[in-house]
């Protein structure tokens, strides 16, 4: 490591690495240099001039956010001159500012408000008339209020640099400059809302949140987004059992400030009018609401009858439910119902990857690896659409570390813009085309390979063999679709393996076989919707469904239990990189219960004991019984992510890799959840995606 540089800030000695900016060096010793336009990770701007500091032996005030530390530098951030300068800047900023804090969404968490409070003057000397510009709506979720804008260009930069979308720019000049959207009067973009969260003032406001509440009236619940598999932390703003917003302004969690349109806005399915609020029981051919007691009794009785008569059971689990629920569900299926006919919609061949990596250590990439490793190879996935956070990490890696990106995809993807080499492949030829990169990849110091569902079964083994032949450290990410697809696999929602990929003696029926079996007596579907695409062959089957909505599957059910969403329960989920994070219940929706509780209640009703249904208790069991899940509790308890350690041994493979199929959700869809999110459906625009032709 290079020698540290010694400087003094406000009399405190500071040691900082060469190249450190004064604003960050000051932070090291607890001195805050105020700033608007400086934002960690984005290009330097030096536009807001709030961070001006006095540096001895230089005649003018210096810009703290662009000035690198120098040996012997003496900085004053607290001198009368600096204070006077800040006061002047705040005064300039407020000249045309409407001062409408009482009705502004940002009021209470506004950086301009804070700065004015701390550095501004008590009275306004501006006697001229303020310039007014009417508010503009750019999309269902983005509103722009020009007079509040301080032109710090954070939004422009995050959209360009962070998202790679470049939908925002600046028009006009001088005092009438303003931020402008890419299509004259509206935005066509990812609708991620990053611009809104990053806005230090109330200039960009969210269509989902505006004029609904004040920040201090909400409970802020940090939990994990329930849509795609990336597992972003989202902080729900909950008031009176209603989620008002989702954001991650505190930059905590693996995703920092990142959230996509789903994480930020698609929580509203929770409050959909179509949510089930009471159990439904089929009476005279019609589903009718009944009490929990009646529904539970009916199911328990039916299960017991079928067991007594040697009936055939099957269970289909979900890739949205928590690890605890999945574990509990498979215990119920295997121990109570005595069947291995259990499966879920598999979206990526995780078992094949774990099997292929037998004997290797440090071979599974974390989401942080995508930001840190020197080279990334993306195979057969449109990350910007299906894994927006991974895509964000890769862009940040390129921007900050100059990572070498390679893509082998069947169509155009955003990563190509940054790639050193992109190969357009055709389905089935992916590995052959990856082979073309061999020489270039061999020259890289290390590599992360990210692959989609096109690589499954044998292909995964071939890919890992290819990686091993490069002679460099290689890490892998096997892409899966939903918030807990990985967890569903790890917890053993599979006919051929139990939790931790322990082989079962007698493999049961797989997903499509369950539905195709004509002699099925009982089918229990927990948080999945298999009947959307497939038919249930057994007409005599008694179907029990746990779901939030009356999906195609629920409509066929004999009993439907109203389930709670991920935002209403505690537990853990495992993301695409195998990182375990904690769900925290933000609210309760009347009538709905977490699946864990529903499973427990049925077991209890049947007089069976599969342990108590507390998420913490089940997690304890998981940590003990599931290989790789002995994760440090303090890490996840404090909102961190703990990567599961690989099984590191051969795991039972699926005999039928063709069952593995991604749902190809885009940035604006999310399986059956997406259907019930008004906000998500209102923003169905965006720049094409998933290899579409009209993509710009």
């Amino acid at each position: 490591m290079a020698d540290l540089i010694n400087l003094t800030i406000d009399g405190k000695p500071v040691q900082a690495a060469p190249g450190t900016l004064v604003i960050n060096a000051a932070k090291q010793v607890g001195i805050e240099i105020p700033s608007f336009c400086y934002y960690d990770g984005l290009t330097l701007q030096a536009a807001c001039r709030m961070c001006l500091v006095e540096v001895e032996k230089t005649p003018k005030l210096q810009v703290g956010c662009t000035l690198p530390v120098a040996e012997g530098m003496v900085v004053h951030t607290d001198s009368p001159l600096v204070h006077q300068s800040r006061k002047g800047m705040v005064e300039f900023l407020l000249t045309n500012h409407p001062l409408d804090c009482p009705v502004c969404d940002k009021g209470g968490e506004c950086e301009l408000q804070d700065m004015t409070f701390r550095y501004g003057m008590g009275e306004s000397r501006f006697l001229e008339q303020k310039m007014h510009v009417d508010e503009q709506q750019w999309s269902p979720v983005v509103f722009y209020d020009k007079p509040r804008c301080i032109l710090c260009y954070r939004c422009v930069r995050i959209c360009d640099e962070g998202m790679g979308v470049n939908a925002l720019g600046v028009v006009n000049r001088g005092a009438v400059s303003e931020i402008a959207p890419n299509h004259f009067d509206h935005l066509e973009c990812d609708e991620c809302g990053m611009c809104i969260d990053i806005c230090p003032v109330g200039a960009l406001t969210s269509g989902a949140y505006r004029y609904k509440t004040r920040p201090w009236e909400m409970k802020h619940v940090g939990t994990i987004c329930t849509h795609c598999a990336d597992g972003c932390k989202t902080t729900l703003g909950v008031r009176n059992n209603e989620i008002i917003r989702g954001n991650n302004r505190d930059r905590s969690g693996i995703n920092g400030e990142f959230l996509c349109v789903k994480g930020r806005y698609a929580f509203d399915f929770v409050h959909s009018a179509e949510r089930l609020q009471a159990p439904l029981l089929r009476k005279n051919g019609k589903l009718e609401p009944v009490s929990w007691a009646e529904a539970l009794a009916t199911v328990a009785k039916k299960f017991q009858q079928a067991q007594a008569s040697g009936g055939k059971f099957a269970v289909i689990g979900s890739n949205h439910t928590s690890n605890e629920e999945n574990y509990y569900l498979q215990s119920f299926a295997r121990e109570v119902l005595g069947t291995n006919n259990i499966d879920h919609h598999r979206t990526g061949d995780v078992p094949a990857l774990l099997d292929a990596l037998s004997g290797k250590t440090d071979a599974l990439a974390t989401s942080a690896d995508l930001y840190e490793r020197k080279a990334i190879l993306v195979i057969a996935s449109d990350l910007a659409q299906q894994h927006p956070f991974l895509s964000f990490q890769i862009r940040a890696n390129y921007r900050h570390h100059g990572a070498h990106i390679y893509t082998v995809t069947p169509g155009p993807v955003r990563e190509q813009k940054y790639a050193v080499r992109s190969i357009m492949t055709i389905p089935g030829r992916e590995l052959a085309d990856v082979e073309l990169l061999r020489e270039q990849l061999k020259a890289e110091p290390e590599l992360v390979i990210v692959f989609g569902d096109a690589i499954k079964g044998d292909a995964v083994h071939k890919l890992v063999a290819f990686g091993a032949s490069l002679g460099i450290p290689v890490r892998y990410v096997c892409l899966v679709d939903y918030s807990n697809s990985r967890g569903a696999s790890d917890m053993g929602l599979a006919p051929n393996h139990g939790p931790g990929y322990q082989a079962v003696a007698e493999p049961g029926l797989a997903y499509d076989e369950i539905l195709a079996a004509t002699d099925l007596d009982v089918l229990w579907v927990v948080g999945a919707n298999p009947l959307k695409h497939l038919d249930l062959a057994s007409s005599r089957a008694f179907v029990v469904v746990n779901d939030m909505f009356l999906t195609e599957t629920a409509q066929r059910a004999d009993v439907v239990f109203p389930a709670a969403s991920a935002y209403e329960k505690s537990g853990t989920v495992t993301n695409v990189c195998g990182e375990v994070q904690r769900l925290k219940a933000g609210l309760q929706v009347m009538g709905a219960k977490p699946d864990l509780e529903i499973i427990g209640l049925i077991a209890k009703e049947m007089g069976q004991d599969i342990g108590i249904w507390s998420p913490d208790k089940v997690l304890e069991e998981i940590r003990t019984n599931v290989r790789g899940y002995n994760i440090p509790l303090p890490v996840i308890a404090t909102g961190g992510a703990a990567q599961t350690t690989p099984v590191n041994g051969h795991v039972p493979l699926s005999a039928r890799p063709e069952l593995i199929q991604s749902a190809r959700d885009s940035l604006f869809t999310s399986g059956s959840l997406g259907r019930y999110s008004k906000m998500l459906n209102s923003v169905l625009e965006g720049p094409g995606g998933l290899y579409s032709e009209e993509r710009p």
């Binding site: 536009a47 001039r49 709030m50 003018k60 002047g88 001229e128 301080i150 001088g174 005092a175």
Partner: protein, 436 residues
């Protein structure tokens, strides 16, 4: 051709062909020592050229007065990247009108200067960035460039010397800010004209991330003479550290406004009375803007000084870009300050807060003040707001707006007080002020 009557007091170096018939043609240029310096430079090493420019004590004529030879030596000649010579012809400073005359009357002198600069920094491409309002000049310059190409003074293997150089014109789009060298670079790259952060300086990371030599038209126009006659001869024309001559753009309330080439260090009062033919209508001198609208203003009694960078710096003003504006006793200094601030508020690019908000606030405040709605407390506030901009903006535009304003309020408080209490402007009877 635009050109005023010359003055006998002028020392003609860069303007020596002004007034000659067809001075803009290559033939006329070749007939009067044209391209001699270029051939001489081809015999010299790049180091010798830079050294000669250093000896000449030539200082940048765009306004900042940075020693040209030193700037040339900063360009890493051995860099593997392409190098560029970019000519700042975005002459937008109110009061300054010299570069247009140089391009109009003697374009080949500029081309020769560019070639020598190219030779000195190993650049083979040049761009003349001409302000958008000089549309006719772009065509004029293009014709001169075409003529030079046609006769082998541009292009491949110039005159058999083995030196290649391509020269292009590039139009500005009407932004004063693009005269700031880094904003000019952004503009030339096709971006919004916003100044860049320095360091790195354009000499190292300039156009298209490559080493770039950026000089004003007048600076490069002086180079052929320096190489031809030697740097020492050029330096001797001026004062120590202030070599050569300057084109002074005399305007305002004088009898013979015009552009005059005078040795650096020429006395300002003599300039007004002997070169400029004295005050118009026999009025008394009130103030002088020494070097373009961004320079702190001088009161009449401060004007008995030699016009060079260092003397003006000593009395806290600047020689700037040579736009000397003479104001007579009938000038309303409030209106003058307003006119200046209107310009800067209109031209502020909007990048940084103090300049964007400060200039507009001051403009509106001065408008109100001039209309008689001022308050006594506004007077110190004008100065205070200007000081809040001074030295705190991203580029020098904020300083350019603040410096004259501060000096006007400090030096002419009586003009401000005369507008208080709803009184009409005491100078309402006077002729239109300058810049109006």
């Amino acid at each position: 051709m635009l050109y005023n009557e010359p003055s006998p007091l002028e020392v003609k170096v860069v303007t020596k062909r002004f007034g000659m018939p067809n001075s803009h043609s290559l033939d006329a240029y070749l007939a009067t020592d044209g391209f001699k310096a270029f051939f001489k430079a081809m015999q010299m090493t790049p180091e010798q050229i830079v050294e000669e420019v250093k000896i000449s004590a030539l200082r940048g004529r765009g306004g900042a007065g940075f020693p040209a030879g030193m700037k040339w030596s900063f360009v890493p000649r051995t860099s593997p990247k392409p190098k560029y010579v970019i000519i700042n012809a975005d002459e937008s400073e109110p009061g300054t009108c010299k570069d247009r005359l140089l391009m109009e009357n003697d374009p080949h002198q500029l081309i020769e200067g560019i070639l020598i600069a190219g030779r000195a920094v190993d650049a083979h491409k040049g761009y003349i960035y001409i302000r958008g309002e000089y549309r006719y000049l772009i065509e004029h310059m293009d014709r001169a460039i075409a003529e030079a190409y046609g006769r082998g003074y541009l292009g491949k293997n110039i005159q058999g010397t083995g030196f290649d150089f391509d020269l292009y014109t590039h139009s500005g789009a009407g932004a004063y800010e693009c005269g700031e060298e880094t904003a000019l670079l952004d503009s030339i790259e096709g971006k919004r004209g916003i100044p860049r952060m320095k360091p790195p300086f354009p000499a190292v990371v300039g156009a298209w991330q490559s080493p770039t030599l950026l000089n004003n038209v007048e600076t490069l126009s002086a180079v052929p003479a320096i190489i031809r006659d030697g740097g020492a001869a050029f330096a001797a024309l001026g004062t120590p550290k202030n070599g050569g001559t300057r084109m002074i753009c005399l305007s305002g309330h004088i009898n013979k406004p015009g552009v005059y080439e005078l040795p650096v260090g020429f006395n300002l009062l003599r300039m007004i009375h002997e070169v400029g033919g004295g005050m118009r209508n026999g009025k008394k001198l009130k103030a002088v803007v020494p070097g373009g609208s961004s320079c702190p203003i001088l009161k009449a009694e401060e004007c008995d000084i030699p016009m060079d960078f260092d003397t003006l710096a000593k009395i806290k003003s600047m020689l700037g870009s040579g736009g000397t504006v003479i104001l007579d006793e009938d000038t309303c200094m409030v209106r003058f300050a307003l006119r200046i601030m209107k310009f800067y508020a209109h031209e502020s690019c909007g990048w940084c807060i103090p300049c964007r908000e400060g200039t507009t606030w001051l403009k509106r405040m001065l408008e109100r003040f001039h209309s008689g709605m001022g308050q006594k407390s506004d007077i110190p506030m004008i100065g205070e707001l200007s000081k809040n901009m001074l030295g705190r903006t991203f580029c020098a535009l904020g300083d350019a707006a603040a410096m004259p304003t501060i000096s006007i309020v400090e030096k002419f408080p009586e003009d401000f007080e005369a507008h208080l209490n709803g009184q009409p402007c005491p100078y309402a009877h006077a002729a239109e002020p300058v810049f109006a």
